[in-house]
């Protein structure tokens, strides 16, 4: 029987968790058919014996996640990201295997590459799925609104293209014998028109919003650009980052890089402190991964109260400085 194939994203010799989650969904869809994986690499990187070994080891290791055959595609053009080239290679491998389905993680790159595969081959694509069952039609569950809503859908296709929502399904381990093979792609010049020509490193300085253990976030209730001084102070004391809601970025009080939510940054800190934020679904789509949420809001009935672990009711302009003061006082005692 024809196999399914999954694109594996990787960096520094490690497959991304999102790709391993994707394999769990691909394997359940395959229901016994072989699972193939595509690992892209460039000979410039492979040049070093070390790099070649690392990619080979990574491919070989995919057996723990149910991959029967891992294809390493080498091409010098793969040294920098070229999404049309990735799509061409994934499409070529799927054709060669006569794959019954193609999977990738619903990451920025995964979604983008799969949309290009779909556009090139005139095939439908279902993005950000959390479950997919074979059949005619194929039935699936996918995320809408950044995960705030689910959709049950039917997909009519002889070769379904599916991306798997990041961090929505668990990684599953198993033991499969993995055969590692080399795949030689054919690329056309036009497939390299869109490619990364430069990487500009972030300015650095401060704790990054996406990585911070604690995020102190302000919404409309903060009232002004200057009002964020107390939010910054508390974030500083907790070694955390400052976040905000869209109302705040639209007003120009904070840069968009601080925005948490569906169209901002998605975060998963140990603690999220939401000050003067009502808890709109699009805001919560960005912080629902937080281990704990503390809401500080003057409205005891605000929707965020149903999505938080702890709450303090009242004026954030009094409460936030009082918390900072209390932390300082405690440190004074300890020191």
């Amino acid at each position: 029987m024809a196999p399914v194939v999954a694109l594996i994203e990787h960096a520094d010799g490690k497959a991304f968790d999102t790709s391993l989650q994707t394999l769990a969904v691909a394997r359940s869809f395959a229901a016994g058919q072989a699972v193939h994986a595509l690992v892209l690499s460039s000979p410039i990187r492979l040049d070093l014996e070390l790099g070649r070994n690392a990619v080979f080891a990574l491919a070989n290791d995919l057996g723990h996640y149910g991959v029967n055959v891992a294809h390493i595609a080498e091409h010098e053009a793969l040294d920098s990201f070229a999404p049309d080239a990735w799509a061409a290679i994934l499409g070529q491998l799927a054709d060669q295997l006569d794959a019954t389905a193609v999977f990738a993680a619903g990451t920025e790159r995964g979604n983008e590459v799969m949309a290009r595969v779909g556009a090139r081959a005139n095939l439908p694509l279902a993005t950000n799925c959390i479950a997919v069952s074979a059949g005619d039609p194929i039935t699936l569950t996918r995320q809408r609104w950044g995960g705030s809503l689910l959709e049950e859908a039917r997909l009519n296709s002889t070769r379904p293209l599916v991306t798997v929502a990041p961090h929505a399904v668990p990684i599953e381990t198993t033991e499969a014998e993995t055969k590692v093979e080399t795949f030689t792609p054919q690329l056309k010049e036009q497939e390299l028109v869109v490619r990364v020509i430069e990487h500009v490193a972030a300015a650095g300085g401060g704790v990054s919003l996406a990585e911070a253990r604690v995020v102190v976030s302000g919404g409309r209730g903060v009232g002004s650009k200057e009002g964020f001084a107390i939010i910054e102070e508390l974030a500083g004391l907790l070694g955390g980052a400052v976040g905000c809601s869209r109302v705040v970025t639209s007003a120009g009080w904070r840069p968009h890089t601080d925005q948490v939510g569906q169209t901002g940054t998605k975060i998963a800190p140990e603690l999220y402190i939401a000050c003067g934020i009502s808890g709109a679904t699009q805001h919560m789509a960005g912080c629902k991964g937080a281990k704990r949420i503390l809401a500080i809001n003057s409205d005891a009935e605000a929707p965020i109260m149903l999505n938080s672990d702890y709450a303090v009711v009242g004026d954030l302009k009094e409460i936030v400085p009082a918390i900072s003061k209390e932390i300082r006082a405690n440190r004074g005692h300890a020191g």
Partner: protein, 254 residues
């Protein structure tokens, strides 16, 4: 230069998602609607480009009659004219949406010349398919760069910046091109009163395309189970500070 920006009308859902009785759509009777945030930045960018280079900006939407409101909003920000691909309000899948937009672009280009740039949101706010812009670009044979936070026209090409791990990835592609953008690309202006008045007189071309057979078909919507967090109230007002710090200590952040 000519710039087209494609937008989608979506509801402001507020604190929770409520479904219509048939579970095929959100209950939107009490909700306001908006252009989704990514595309709002696309509109702003199109207007800025034409302000800088002169030419024509056009806004296009596929959606119900009420989506004319979003076209007027875009024109109030400075877009010159609009194309409305009117539907009965049912959901079109990404392939059908792209097919109708491709036809409309071909017709407009045949009449008025090629668009140097066509802008889309990176993904629609509601269905989040991540593909209409790429399908349109594929059919037109134009390069497409996605998820952009900065766009700079440099002669006959366009420099594109996309957020990536630890910084930004940069692309440069020749025009004509298709770009998909994200919120944060710019800070959209608020519409002025004269802008709104001018928008009321700007031309809207309305067409009713036929819907291609959907291959990705919505069966029903489901609101995911809540996270079941009913907040434990630690107190009210500044006197709650000691209880908060106690909690912070317990969970190990101070």
């Amino acid at each position: 230069m000519r710039v087209l920006v494609c937008v989608k009308r979506v509801p402001f859902t507020g604190g929770k998602m409520v479904l219509a009785p048939d579970s095929m759509a959100l209950e939107t009777r009490h909700l306001g609607f908006t252009i989704s945030p990514h595309e709002e930045c696309g509109v702003e960018e199109a207007v800025r480009m034409i302000e800088a280079k002169s030419g024509e900006s056009v806004v296009l939407t596929l959606g119900p009659a009420e989506a004319a409101e979003q076209l007027r909003d875009a024109m109030a920000l400075g877009v010159d004219r609009a194309i409305h691909l009117e539907t009965d309000g049912s959901e079109w899948d990404p392939e059908a949406t792209a097919a109708a937009i491709i036809d409309a672009i071909r017709a407009d280009e045949a009449a008025s010349g090629p668009f140097d740039l066509i802008l889309f949101g990176n993904e629609s706010a509601d269905s989040g398919g991540f593909q209409v812009g790429l399908r349109v670009a594929g059919a037109l044979g134009r390069p497409c760069v996605t998820g952009l936070k900065k766009v700079t026209i440099e002669g006959a090409s366009v420099r594109c910046e996309q957020e990536s791990e630890g910084g930004r990835d940069v692309y440069a592609v020749p025009m004509p091109a298709v770009l998909t953008v994200k919120e944060g690309l710019n800070l959209p202006r608020y519409p002025s009163v004269p802008g709104r008045m001018r928008a009321a007189r700007k031309p809207v071309a309305t067409m009713t395309p036929t819907q291609a057979q959907a291959r990705l078909e919505l069966a029903s919507l489901v609101v995911p189970a809540g996270q079941g967090r009913r907040a434990e109230v630690l107190g009210s007002g500044p006197s709650a500070a000691p209880a908060v710090v106690e909690m912070l200590r317990k969970i190990g952040v101070v």
